[in-house]
Amino acid sequence: MIGFTLNTRPVTVDAAPETSLLHALRGPLGLLATRFGCGAEACGACMVLLDGEPTNSCTLPLARVAGRQVVTVEGLGTPEAPHPVQAALLELQAGQCGYCLSGIQIAAAALLARNPAPERAEIAEALAGNLCRCGAHNRILHAIEAAGAAMRRAA
């Protein structure tokens, strides 16, 4: 059994320690927002926050998660109480297929937590590990700027 904190609640998983966090999330833990894209840490679709840092979960063994804090998209916000990044993505319709948006939400939330007023280039840099194939990049960049502005107003 491996224990860690998932979206502020303690959880234990009965799985081999080499099992990836992604498999644990989508399997026994039943959280589906974290997505498989490549299995090689190259696209960012599977990003979670690990102790606050955006981290690809597809190759991350559970053994390395033990005792740590994991936040997934489900922990960022809900339709009723969305994270500012989620609210802005919807407001600006910043997505097409939406498959890449889970990892992008995670990377953006981590960026804005440490810098709520990033320059465009800093946002792009924070998304260096995230791929989008539909070409929604500019809308996503605008939405993250808008989310930062909303967070600054609320602060």
Binding site: A15, A16, T19, S20, H23, R26, G27, L31, L32, A33, R35, F36, G37, C38, G39, A40, A42, C43, A45, T72, V73, E74, G77, T78, P79, P82, Q86, L89, L90, Q93, G95, Q96, C97, G98, Y99, C100, L101, S102, Q105, A121, I123, A124, E125, L127, A128, N130, L131, C132, R133, C134, G135, A136, H137, N138, R139, I140, L141
Partner: protein
């Protein structure tokens, strides 16, 4: 009396009951054969129905892509959903509304003209009555075929059309779930499949026990000829089993392919079918030739490269097969699955569920057969198959490489007096059922399978495949266009966003630019001097104004501007596009301006999103993407070998719609691909003073041209 020409979708599915129903809870059921691919089409179709029925779009539930349930509308492809399905829904909804008003007039003993409908409730002289769609539904005929004779609402009356409406599917996808990947019907088993790395390869023996030992759990190996799959209780175990099976798989025989320096050039000289298209002259004044200009343009082989891998779920029970898929055509997939499995189509039901972004004929259909084959070996279970990243970028159909040769004789004024074009390409159409074959990957590996014969290309009536947008819309002398359809390209090729238009518009608009420069004229002015189509002129003039074309920087110095024009398929939306780039060793994309005439635009924000996305995807194809094939199979089967444009590399994109709302809607999902490629190519030539005619316009190609 003239009989209206109904959209094909309505001719094929004429009964209103096939499209629209009113269900308890004051909900409206809208059925369409078109499917959500990430392009927002279901939102726009609901918007059309809401407009014509006069109901709030939030009342509408859309059922999409289910065999035996939704209208059969072929593939969701070719930028046709709004024209075909939207056109049908618009006419059906308008006619149903008229039938309801007639029924209400009978009840209320008044003239229909005294009645109106507001959010489904009948109004009499502007006041609400007790009647609504739901109470009146029993009195209205949903079976009598729609005639298309009730005029839809005019632009001045629109409540919903022409306004931005948020995507109905986006919240579900943003907060988790929402994709076919997330379905977990019970009892569920997970499978992974093994596919041949090259055509005709034979799979050596595989040991189930050894695979299970290596994977560390209970694994079933399924072997059907040269197709294999592993089946397990969890995804994690199925992944480990696949890894073990792939490590042990020995492939031999067949036709492995040596690496070549250029995939497009490798098409030349290969066995092909030739046809010639003669396009009559668009200008009468034939002046004397003073010289001949010719150029060869190349397009690389391209991958769909969706962020999410292909997935399907299948259940086999009592001789019946149920399939969940993100295919673009559930009806054609159903027939192909039945053919591949040797069962009756009636025994197969196929339902669409949203996948990751779909840009054409990807692995969705293939993985559905994988799931069906495994499900047949494990009756009663739902079998979920997910492809690996490597499979997603190697065993799928690709966009064909292309060689486009252009030649023209020009007069003293620099205008063409003869025009020849030769397009050499693999097929752009090899979807399930296209040539009477299933065209499903695993089907060719099954015992007793016969090799697939060469596929024909997409029919002319569907907008051409390799020749898509090969006919120039300029006022040219007679165009002689030759198509070499290569019988057996070095990779599987089929429909990918824009089909031949990406290569052809890159070539045509590059060549027009070369002629303009040769004549010493501004590329915009030269184009306008050869273009009498008023809608074409308007998009060009608009994009010139948007971008400040006349005041653009001149003289290279590492910055370049390029312009391009096309009308997708020569019958969908008009696009003119300006690109600004900077070049040091590689291209840095700065800004793109795009003017589009798509006639009536249903959802302007959704439409802009499609065009913006098309620009960025095409920019990625154009500057950096290239599938390479070698003796071990596809060599670019991962993001490290097939990079796509990143957040720090995308240009800013401005899109403006200039169409007239009284013109019918024109498809726009694929319109930006060709012009984007051409504008970037022209901008590169502007920046360098020499032209790179081979995509991708990579650092290496730029260096090669600069070094001469």
């Amino acid at each position: 009396m003239t009989v209206p020409v109904l959209p094909q979708s309505l001719r094929d599915n004429p009964r209103p009951a096939q499209w629209i129903g009113f269900v308890p809870g004051k909900r409206v059921r809208l059925a369409t054969g078109k499917v959500e691919l990430g392009q927002g089409v279901l939102t726009a179709l609901a918007q059309i129905a809401a407009e014509e029925l006069a109901v709030d779009p939030a009342r509408i539930d859309v059922v999409s892509g289910e065999t035996g349930v939704t209208p059969e509308e072929g593939f969701t492809a070719g930028s046709q959903s709004i024209e075909a399905s939207g056109g049908a829904i618009r006419l059906v909804a308008a006619e149903l509304r008229a039938r309801f008003l007639a029924a209400a007039a009978l009840r209320l003993n008044c003239a229909p003209a005294a009645l109106d409908i507001d959010d489904g409730t009948v109004l009499q002289d502007g006041a609400a009555t007790a009647l609504d769609y739901w109470s009146l539904a029993g009195a209205v005929d949903f079976e009598a075929p729609a005639t298309g004779t009730v005029p839809p609402r005019a632009p001045g009356q629109f409540r919903y059309i022409g306004r931005p409406l948020p995507r109905r599917d986006l919240p579900g996808k943003l907060f988790g779930g929402g994709f076919i990947h997330d379905l977990r019907p019970e009892p569920l088993r997970h499978a992974r499949s093994l596919h041949r790395p090259w055509p005709g390869a034979a799979l050596g023996p595989l040991d189930e026990a050894a695979i299970a030992r290596a994977a560390g759990g209970a694994v079933r190996l399924i072997r059907l000829g040269d197709f294999a799959a592993v089946l397990a209780e969890t995804e994690a175990l199925a992944d480990r089993a696949l890894e073990a099976a792939e490590a042990r798989a020995r492939w031999s025989g067949g036709t492995p392919r040596p690496a070549v320096p250029s995939e497009p050039l490798a098409l030349l000289g290969a066995e092909h079918a030739e046809r010639v298209l003669e396009v009559p002259a668009g200008r009468a004044d034939a002046a004397a030739s003073v010289g001949r200009v010719g150029a060869r343009y190349l397009r690389a082989c391209l991958a769909h490269a969706s962020i999410g891998p292909s997935v399907a779920l299948a259940r086999w029970e009592d001789g019946r097969l149920e399939v969940l898929t993100h295919s673009q055509g559930v009806g054609m997939l159903r027939l192909a699955l039945a053919q591949a499995l040797g069962i009756a189509a009636e025994a197969v039901s196929v339902q669409h569920r949203p996948g990751a972004g779909c840009y054409g004929h990807n692995g969705a259909d293939d993985v559905a057969l994988d799931a069906a084959l495994v499900a047949r070996e494990a009756p009663g279970h739902w079998v979920r198959v997910q492809w690996t990243r490597a499979q997603e970028m190697s065993v799928v159909p690709f966009g064909s490489p292309m060689v486009v040769d252009l030649a023209a004789e020009v007069d003293a004024a620099g205008r063409p007096v003869s025009w020849e074009m030769t397009v050499t390409s693999g097929t752009h159409g090899q979807r399930p059922g296209h040539n009477g074959r299933t065209n499903l990957l695993a089907a060719e590996a099954l015992p007793g399978a016969t090799p697939t014969p060469p596929a024909p290309d997409v029919p002319d009536a569907a907008g051409f495949g390799g020749l898509r947008n090969a006919i120039a819309l300029y006022d040219l002398p007679a165009q002689r266009i030759t198509h070499h359809l290569v019988a057996r390209p070095r990779m599987r090729t089929s429909s990918m966003r824009g089909l031949g238009a990406h290569g052809n518009v890159f070539a045509l608009e590059g060549f027009i630019d070369e002629l303009a420069l040769r004549a010493g004229e501004d590329p915009l002015a030269y184009r306008l001097s050869l273009l009498s189509d008023p809608r074409g002129r308007r998009v060009l003039e608009t994009v010139a104004a948007m971008s400040g074309w006349a005041g653009r920087p001149r003289g290279g110095e590492g910055v370049g501007w390029g312009i391009a024009f096309s009308r997708y398929k020569n019958r969908a939306a008009y696009v003119a596009l300006v690109a600004e780039i900077a070049v040091e060793q590689a291209i840095a994309l700065r800004r793109v301006w795009c003017a589009v005439d798509a006639g009536l635009v249903i959802n302007p924000d959704g439409a802009a999103n499609q065009v913006e996305g098309g620009v960025i995807q095409a920019a990625s194809w154009t500057v950096g993407e290239e599938v390479r094939v070698g003796p071990e199979g596809v060599e670019t089967a991962g993001w490290e070998h097939y990079p796509i444009l990143r957040f720090a590399e995308v240009p800013e994109v401005a899109v403006r719609f200039v169409g007239d709302a009284t013109d019918p809607p024109l498809g726009l999902g694929e319109v930006a691909l060709g012009p984007t490629a051409a504008a970037i190519g022209n901008a590169l030539a502007d920046a360098l003073g020499v032209r790179v005619r081979e995509m991708p316009l990579s650092r290496e190609r730029i260096a090669a041209v600069l070094l001469g």
